[in-house]
Subunit: 233 residues, 2 copies
DNA sequence: TTCCCCATACGGGATTTCCCCAATAGCATC
DNA sequence: GATGCTATTGGGGAAATCCCGTATGGGGAA
């Protein structure tokens, strides 16, 4: 899982770091972070406005792969308030260190998902009492949701050109046949259904595997599902 | 794709229809609608507070399968303002009819996605000028985002018990081996990796297929991904 | 003790998939 | 016309998967 620091990329009109800064300023937050995950590309894209020293420490410790905040939020529909995780040992481990860098335990992470399995995790943090946090949160949660959605949308669409260039373009026949395979049909079944030869089915599957970068048809099914090209049935 | 009307199910503590009504009342909207899609179950769950006559007409015309608002929002990360779609012929077709039932063209649809491919589409509509709509929207969008997320979360978790009861329980070995298969390894590869015989790999795959109700291993991979048991790699 | 699930393994053989090669035809674009 | 993509089809054969049955042993619950 490679980590790509988005703040290092050139975005002439927009600067994600300053977006995070403005969210913090508007809502009186300490820090904000965005992590975008693309399960197919196995990459994590991130931009944060945390202290540099904490960023370095975080990556050194490999927290991005075992931060319970990220793993929990990645499985959640609704925002995850960090308070929920105070009993978690891994959370304690991360925040024992984070404290030394001035990062508070008071925060929340908002997951946003796109149609191709991509996930954006937008986190904000503020050093304050539980009472203050509760009040602040209910006041700004809607705006944070909004910010999270648009940030993730922006990141995904900023990569759209790259995605189009790297996004496999399966022909409609290839997709159709993969869908039948995902539904449990054999190649001969699919040939019968579509009134073509099973040799033709084989050709389309091979082409589809190649475009998806899959070694086996099972892997191709998985990747196509991850890309939203076909559905599990 | 079966259509399940959630307002007809018994929810003693919560009533989704009154949730929609309260959102409309709070934000001075005319109507609200929620449509949840579960690709595994191939079902659409919906609850609306539109006039009954329009609901009947909508289903009669089969609009749920070709409403451009739904199809566009299902592909979007960010909320979709219906203004964007006024040039679309299918949109015009739907709203030519909707007008007769008092449904305005001024509205938006918010997509929310869960970790298992589920999608919730939350729509609201208000009969007003473009100016008024623009003002109202920017004022309430955050709260609507919030409402959308929690509504979808609620629906998904209301079905959680059912899901647990029907959720296949794969052994850790079965999951592990399916993950390797999803990663493109052959059975022999997996046997080498795990230092077991390929006959054992075969046994676990067969068991896994049986539990997942899959006819082929490719289908099992797909279903396991859909259930969040393994990931596309 | 019995039962169930899990993990491990095998026999024998049928079926299916996949590899690598070949080909034609239609359509769109430059 | 040349090129690229799509859809269609086939030969020959190796590799892999799958079917249906068998077995042992460990651990946990009733």
């Amino acid at each position: 899982m490679s980590v790509v620091d988005l703040s290092k990329l050139a975005y002439p009109e927009n600067n994600l770091r300053s977006f995070l800064d403005s969210v913090c300023e508007t809502h009186e937050l300490d820090y904000a972070a965005y992590a975008g995950m693309n399960p197919i590309a196995q990459s994590v894209h991130g931009v944060v406005n945390y202290p540099d020293a904490w960023q370095t420490r975080y990556v050194e410790q490999g927290f991005q792969t075992r931060d319970p905040v990220l793993t929990t939020a990645a499985r959640s529909i609704a925002p995850v308030d960090w308070q929920r995780m105070r009993g978690d040992e891994a959370f304690k481990t991360v925040f024992r260190e984070a404290h030394d860098f001035g990062i508070a335990e008071q925060g929340l992470t908002i997951p946003v998902r796109g149609p191709f399995g991509d996930v954006g995790l937008f986190s904000v943090t503020r050093n304050c009492s539980d009472d203050e946090w509760s009040k602040l949160k209910s006041k700004i949660l809607g705006e944070l949701q909004n910010a999270a959605v648009h940030l993730h949308d922006h990141v995904v669409h900023s990569h759209e050109l790259t995605r189009v260039l790297s996004h496999p373009s399966l022909s409609s026949r290839e997709v159709e046949i993969l869908q039948w395979i995902a539904a449990g049909k054999t190649q001969q079944d699919v040939a019968d259904i579509l009134n073509i030869s099973n040799r033709t089915v084989e050709v389309h599957l091979r082409s589809g595997r190649s475009k998806l970068g899959a070694l086996t048809t099972s892997q191709a099914v998985g990747r196509a599902i991850g890309l939203g090209l076909v559905y599990p049935l």
